[in-house]
């Protein structure tokens, strides 16, 4: 054993580091989706938004040399997509689920098309904060090399909590999402609130995408996303439409997702694919265990119906 070997401790460290990296895009996308769903609409198109954001972020970072400018433009691209979704769904008898699915295809296709020239060049990545500076063990340093966006994500979860529970606008959003009749009786601009909520959701999903291309894995390729945009929808349900829960769920999901690579890192290579399925199995298990008919989804937005 050499000095840097820390034996089995490497496993939890690798999981921790992986959890932070893997969960960051989930935090952004799931909280974005949560805001949208709280307005009574579901945006399934976030997978496409995510890819578009990843591509846009990478492109602008490469062209301007500033990764933060890349993040911003990823958000703006996502917001434009959210606006499109919001607008299309405001037309009578248009179904938000169907629009969402078509936006997945459109977003991914657009990202692939515009991103073709970006596969080769190297864009400046997002800086990370070396929280492991105090340690000389490389595994510790690697695990605690945390991207700034992660902290933004955590702050975001709490900010959204405050927004939904302690601001007038947040209550208005919840009213619109929970009962259109009530919102109309109070004279709230239902459509406008929904469009803005979908735009906010798109903005965050775009940022989540930029994390993929600018931090981890940190390059642009067509296989960049492994379905984070879709999983985020499930995470929101899993989190019972509460932002702090969504943060926890993203971390849990990230940690479980890091299990396979972490085990591989310390030399356990058997069952690699099985371990990779861990997040999904975990999610299912917790879902089943925590669902009860006696206490139904108290925070589920009432207007979130799959028909219409």
């Amino acid at each position: 054993m050499d000095a840097t070997s820390i034996g089995w401790l490497a496993l939890p460290l690798a999981i921790l580091g992986g959890a932070i990296r893997v969960s960051t895009p989930f935090i952004f996308v799931s909280i974005g989706e949560l805001i949208t769903e709280k307005s009574g609409r579901i945006n399934l198109g976030l997978e496409g938004t995510l890819m578009l954001g990843a591509m846009a972020g990478y492109a602008i970072s490469y062209l301007s040399g500033s990764p933060w400018l890349g993040v911003l433009s990823a958000g703006l691209a996502g917001m434009a997509f959210g606006f499109l979704h919001g607008l299309l769904c405001s037309v009578k008898r248009v179904n938000d689920t169907a629009i969402g699915i078509s936006l997945i295809v459109l977003g991914t296709g657009l990202a692939f098309f515009l991103g073709k020239p970006l596969i080769e060049p190297k864009a400046p990545p997002l800086p990370s904060i070396a929280l492991g500076f105090w340690s000389s063990v490389p595994q510790v340093r690697a695990a605690l090399d945390v991207n700034a966006l992660f902290f933004v994500g955590i702050a975001l979860a709490f900010a959204v909590y405050v927004f939904l529970n302690r601001t007038g606008c947040g209550l208005m959003l919840r009213t619109v999402g929970d009962s259109e009749d009530a919102a109309r009786a109070l004279g709230f601009p239902v459509l406008r609130v929904r469009i803005i909520a979908t735009m906010a959701g798109g903005f965050l999903a775009g940022i989540g995408g930029s994390f993929l291309s600018l931090s981890y894995p940190g390059s642009w390729s067509e296989g960049l996303s492994s379905g984070q945009g879709i999983m985020a929808v499930a995470l929101v349900i899993f989190a019972r439409w509460r932002s702090i829960n969504a943060l926890g769920a993203s971390l849990l999901f990230g940690g479980a997702g890091a299990l396979g690579p972490a085990l591989q890192g310390i030399g356990v290579t058997g069952y690699y694919y099985l371990f990779n399925a861990a997040p999904y199995i975990l999610t299912l298990a917790i879902m089943v265990a925590s669902t009860s008919r006696a206490a139904p989804f108290a925070d589920a937005p009432g207007e979130l119906k799959l028909h219409r």
């Binding site: 601001t167 007038g168 009213t175 009962s179 009749d181 109070l186 028909h307």
Partner: protein, 504 residues
């Protein structure tokens, strides 16, 4: 503080080809209560919805203190101090009462400090003669509490003109007195004018100064309440002299088979606490058993648990077989019912009237052929039921949410009572019905009873119960605390059990 004089002039409103309002004018004198009467579907709700900017009239206008106003949205009405308690609840279910109050304020606060906000709200609501919990989610309130919360909301907003659309259908008579009495005293003190929509003549008589009767969208009678007799009002409503109502003297049933048997039923409420505790009861064939009680004492949970909508412990059998509310059991054992808030709990509001009427039997011949629906038979059934129960609707294909409140009720009754019913469980079956429809419903329940149906009737209206049932049970705090046969029933004693146990 001045209370404005509000006048509606020549209001006309069409929904497609359906003329809901036909040139209606209405004057609400400052500081008075103006009652609106009319059959189900007469246009009462439509008229007041125009007044709060929820609907836009095709013709006519609104004058406040002689000045003409256009109301494009409820926000405009809000600015004029006009507010309304809707017939169907419009509180946000997943938010607490306090959050609902804050979100309905004219100006949305940027940041809410809940501690000081709750203190402020408690101060405002303490002055009211009735109590509503502030930090409970609306979805966990009983219908009566929701109604009171709606009224609290309007009073909290400091309305000058308060519109109440059938506010008392879900309140007990005592609660109704409290609420309307308070509104009345506010108008007397010159702080408020009010419009009261009601189907109950005695309420109109006690609490209103003026009354206007609508019939088929037109104003047919208007004047001070004192100048009009009940018969005159009733005649104006239906357009012909009223025949004397039949009395349904309860008759003790012969010792017949037990249809419904419930043993040691325990049910938890939404908050996880026990709502129904060790409840046991039996209903025999050809017997009407009434459950009296103040709303929120476990009736809702009891009914939901019986129908299989809620987890429960204990046993329930119908005609000797266990009943868990599956579709097959419902059809085989003949268990039908009318829940509270039927638009929400017994209908699918975005489906059409005809489809809603077929919810019980769409999977049986003749409504289905193999796996395909027979739309001809579906329409035919709907036509028959609509005619038989006199449901007034814009059309068979109109969406359920376009029906007036009372007509939703009729439609559900039509669907449920025309099945092969052996056990009927009805919660407040006349909630929101006009007096003609009430009579019809009573008659139908008694007819069903006479055919051998066991009826369990849950109602907060003691007069209604005592006129209909063979036996009364009083439910309080989740238990049956008193039982008496209809002959020996004394309203005061029952009232004491209803209220007395509530305080404990």
């Amino acid at each position: 503080m001045s209370v404005p004089q509000v006048e509606l002039k020549n209001m006309t409103k069409r929904f497609g080809a359906n003329l809901a309002l036909n040139n209606v004018s209405l004057l609400i004198r400052s500081g008075t209560v103006h009652a609106l009467l009319g059959e189900n579907g007469a246009g009462k709700s439509t008229l007041v919805k125009c007044l709060v900017g929820f609907y836009h009239p095709d013709e006519g206008h609104i004058q406040v203190d002689g000045r003409e106003h256009r109301l494009n949205s409820p926000r405009d009405a809000d600015a004029l101090g006009i507010g309304m308690v809707y017939q169907h609840f419009t509180l946000v279910p997943s938010m607490t009462v306090a959050q609902n109050l804050v979100v309905s304020g004219a100006r949305l606060p940027a940041y809410i400090n809940w501690q000081s906000e709750l203190r402020r709200l408690a101060q405002v609501t303490r002055k009211l003669p009735f109590h509503v919990p502030l930090d409970v989610r609306v979805s966990q309130l009983s219908a009566g509490e929701k109604q009171k919360a709606e009224i609290v909301k309007q009073l909290y907003l400091g309305r000058k003109l308060l519109i109440l659309d059938e506010p008392t259908s879900v309140l007990t008579p005592a609660e109704a007195d409290e609420v309307l009495g308070h509104v009345r005293s506010l108008t007397r003190a010159g702080e408020l004018s009010a419009i009261l929509i009601s189907h109950k003549f005695h309420e109109v008589r006690r609490f209103a100064d003026d009354v206007t009767v609508l019939r088929r969208g037109a104003s047919v009678r208007t004047g001070p309440v004192a100048d009009l007799t009940d018969d005159a009002l009733a005649e104006a409503m239906i357009g012909e002299p009223v025949s004397k109502m039949v009395q349904h003297a309860p008759k003790s049933p012969p010792k017949s088979d037990i249809i419904l048997s419930v043993r040691d039923l325990c049910v938890n409420g939404d908050n996880g606490l026990p709502a129904v505790k060790d409840l046991s009861l039996e209903v025999r064939a050809a017997e009407v058993v009434g459950i009296a009680g103040v709303s929120g004492n476990g009736q809702l949970e009891f009914v939901e648990a019986m129908m299989g909508q809620r987890d429960r412990s204990g046993t329930m059998t119908v005609s000797g077989s266990p009943f868990n509310g599956t579709r097959r059991e419902i059809a085989r054992l003949g268990v039908y019912g009318l829940p509270q808030e039927p638009l929400k709990n017994a209908c699918i509001d975005r489906m059409s009237l005809a489809e809603n009427l077929a919810l019980r039997n769409f999977d049986r011949v003749p409504l289905c052929r193999g796996i395909a629906m027979n739309y001809g038979a579906l329409a035919e059934q709907a036509e028959r039921l609509v005619a038989q129960f006199r449901v007034k609707a814009p059309g068979l294909n109109a969406s359920m949410s376009a029906l007036s409140g009372g007509n939703v009720q009729r439609a559900v009754l039509a669907r449920e009572l025309t099945q092969d019913v052996r056990l009927l469980v009805a919660s407040n079956p006349t909630f929101g019905l006009d007096f003609v429809a009430c009579e019809e419903t009573y008659r139908r329940i008694v007819e069903a009873r006479n055919r051998g149906t066991a009826v369990l009737l849950i109602s907060e209206d003691l007069d209604e119960l005592l006129g209909l049932v063979d036996r009364v049970l009083v439910m309080s705090a989740g238990r049956i605390v008193y039982e008496v046969s209809a002959d020996g029933a004394d309203k005061r004693v029952i009232g004491k059990y209803m209220a007395g146990m509530k305080a404990a």
